[in-house]
């Protein structure tokens, strides 16, 4: 496994940095549009979400290219792309599960009532 020690070429510092920033930015845009589309049941927005994901994938490929990634690190890149694709689905599922209506806010999950301190002589 390579140790990520080969530096970016001087001409590609900006490309590498911007690609890194775009990975996070498009990751957020994809997550935002995905959730927005699910919330308002608008398939057109879902299309825009997946376009954002394609931009994220392009930024990731650019980053991998600029960083001279190979072998194990390319597998990490692939796993990261799959993770970014599936994460909003999983988080949405989790949101639906945790937002089931129950008790009014501020009253649930308080595990015990005030207990006076007792000093044993």
């Amino acid at each position: 496994m390579s140790m990520m020690t080969e530096p970016v070429e001087a001409q590609q510092i900006m490309l590498a940095a911007m690609a890194g920033a775009m990975v996070v930015l498009f990751g957020a845009v994809y997550a935002f549009l995905f959730a927005w589309s699910k919330l308002h049941k608008r398939p057109v927005i879902m299309l825009a979400a997946y376009l954002s994901y394609l931009c994220l994938a392009a930024a990731t490929v650019a980053l991998a290219f600029a960083l001279h990634l190979s072998g194990f690190w390319l597998i990490v890149v692939f796993v990261m792309l799959v993770g970014y694709l599936l994460a909003p689905h999983a988080i949405w599922h989790l949101c639906e599960g945790t937002h089931e209506p129950s008790t009014p806010h501020g009253t649930d999950e308080i595990t015990s009532q005030p207990i006076p301190l007792e000093i044993k002589q």
Partner: protein, 504 residues
């Protein structure tokens, strides 16, 4: 239009005037911490402006107030005001969350005065006694020499003692009262907050080893314990300002903590790239730094879900605006600006340049300053007797302009420093291989200098925002007689159907 009155503020409390008598013991202590935090925030900006000017005019205040001193006070004031803000925030919420009186209020009060006296002495020594060689005696009495935590050794012991008192006050109050998800996470985090500081207190003549432990304080405080502390404050703040349900907030706090610890602890590796540690830290740091944006993606989906499914009505507009600024600031400052240069192949060029300063400015402001300011507004609302702070409060332009100027100022400084940082990385590191000649050539280059000029201009914008913020915090709610609105959340199944209104 009539609105529901928040019953946590009884009608018997006079409104519109500062009323310390009706605050609980924890909140009275919190107000002291918040007041000193604001003074240190002002000091941070003032010394930052002086240090910025010295980039443009290196002779400015030379041998009177040197750049190294200004920069040191600028950064230390920031760390300490944020710490004051966090401690104040926890004291503010502890009685409410535990449902009982603060344990050890007198001890907490004593600790506050000890810490404040120690900070005053340390700053005075920084400003007046910064000459001569560094030796064992100066480590104990003048300056420990570790960047960002320069306080001398005697003050280190004081800081740990005060944090332990703070831990005792908080944990004992929850033990006397009741536990919740928020308090459980909070108390465990405070153990780490006090414990990790010890890693920066022992001395090794091996610089790599010294730096290894020093980063435990800097990285693990900032990217682990502080983030969790802020998560707890945010969770409580959302319940109080938006009426968010405790179960949901707590569940997400657990998820956030798990994701943060999963990526943030070993993300420490991105500070170990160039300090003489073994090469495997390049892989560990690179891999776990790449995982750090994951909690941010989760945050985006959840925020959209919440805003659509719950029609929130908030009780404190300025506080909510600063909480929103916190979410965006954390995402851009820590997430986008962090991942931009955290991988070792890029970090080789950017480490310790103005690029790092660009990331630091946006990340600290976005992740920590914003949430402290939100807590100041939550506190002032109650301190003035639980006054109305919703839509249409008098002189609302002040808090809106303070919010705008502070955010524009910091964002402007961030972009300007990024330009200077890129030039510095390219000329000094890539072209000249980190030589002295390369360093000076980069410092003289047009793009670098222009970036520093714009940084200074946006520094003045930030200072103007701070002046407005102080003015607003002093005057907001003055003479207001309307009671605070009750935060409410209405659950909606789809865009047409309301399911369940819920309220405090």
């Amino acid at each position: 239009m009539a609105h529901a009155v928040d019953t946590t503020f009884p009608d018997t409390i006079p409104r519109g005037k500062l009323n310390t008598r009706d605050l609980n013991a924890g909140q009275r202590l919190a107000v002291k911490y918040f007041s000193v935090a604001m003074l240190l925030f002002i000091a941070q900006i003032l010394f930052g402006l002086l240090a910025g000017l010295q980039y443009l005019w290196p002779d400015f205040l030379y041998n009177k107030l040197d750049f190294n001193v200004n920069r040191m006070v600028h950064i230390n004031a920031m760390i300490i005001w944020m710490l004051y803000g966090f401690i104040g925030s926890i004291y503010w919420l502890v009685e409410d969350e535990a449902g009982t009186e603060l344990v050890g209020a007198k001890l907490g009060n004593l600790a506050f005065w000890v810490l404040t006296a120690a900070v005053t002495v340390v700053v005075a020594v920084f400003l007046l006694v910064q000459t001569g060689p560094g030796e064992h005696q100066s480590i104990w009495l003048i300056n420990e020499g570790r960047e960002y935590i320069e306080a001398p050794r005697w003050a280190d012991f004081g800081i740990v003692a005060v944090v332990l008192v703070f831990f005792y006050n908080t944990a004992a109050t929850f033990m006397k009262g009741r536990w919740s998800g928020i308090s459980g996470v909070l108390v465990l985090d405070l153990i780490a907050l006090a414990g990790l500081y010890l890693a920066g207190m022992f001395y090794s003549s091996n610089i790599s080893m010294d730096q290894h432990w020093w980063w435990w304080v800097i990285h693990l405080w900032v990217e682990a314990t502080w983030e969790v502390l802020v998560g707890c404050i945010m969770a409580w703040g959302l319940i109080k300002t938006l009426g968010a349900r405790r179960k949901i907030v707590t569940t997400w706090l657990y998820i956030e903590v798990a994701l943060m610890f999963g990526s943030g602890i070993l993300g420490l590796g991105h500070h170990y790239f160039w300090i003489g540690t073994p090469e495997y830290w390049l892989s560990i740091g690179g891999f776990f730094s790449a995982l750090e944006p994951i909690p941010l993606v989760a945050m985006v989906v959840h925020a959209v879900y919440d805003s659509g499914v719950h029609r929130f009505k908030n009780s404190n507009h300025p506080a909510l605006a600063w909480l929103i600024a916190h979410a965006f600031g954390n995402f851009f400052g820590a997430g986008v600006w962090g991942f931009m240069h955290t991988l070792p192949q890029i970090n080789l060029y950017t480490h310790g340049t103005q690029w790092t300063a660009s990331h630091g400015h946006l990340a600290f402001f976005g992740a920590y300053a914003t949430i402290n300011i939100a807590m100041f507004y939550i506190a002032i609302q109650k301190w003035r007797g639980g006054v109305f702070m919703g839509s249409g409060i008098p002189h609302a332009w002040r808090w809106k302009w303070a919010l705008a100027l502070l955010n524009i100022g910091v964002l402007g400084m961030t972009m300007a420093l990024l330009i200077s940082g890129y030039e510095q990385s390219f000329v000094e590191r890539a072209l000249h291989g980190s030589t002295w000649a390369g360093y000076f050539e980069a410092q003289r280059s047009d793009w670098f200098v222009q970036g520093m000029v714009w940084r200074q201009i946006f520094g003045y914008v930030t200072a103007a925002g701070l002046v407005l913020l102080v003015w607003d915090l002093i005057t907001i709610g003055k003479g207001e007689t309307r009671p605070a609105e009750e935060p409410t959340a209405t659950t909606v199944i789809n865009s047409n159907e309301t399911l369940q209104p819920s309220s405090a």
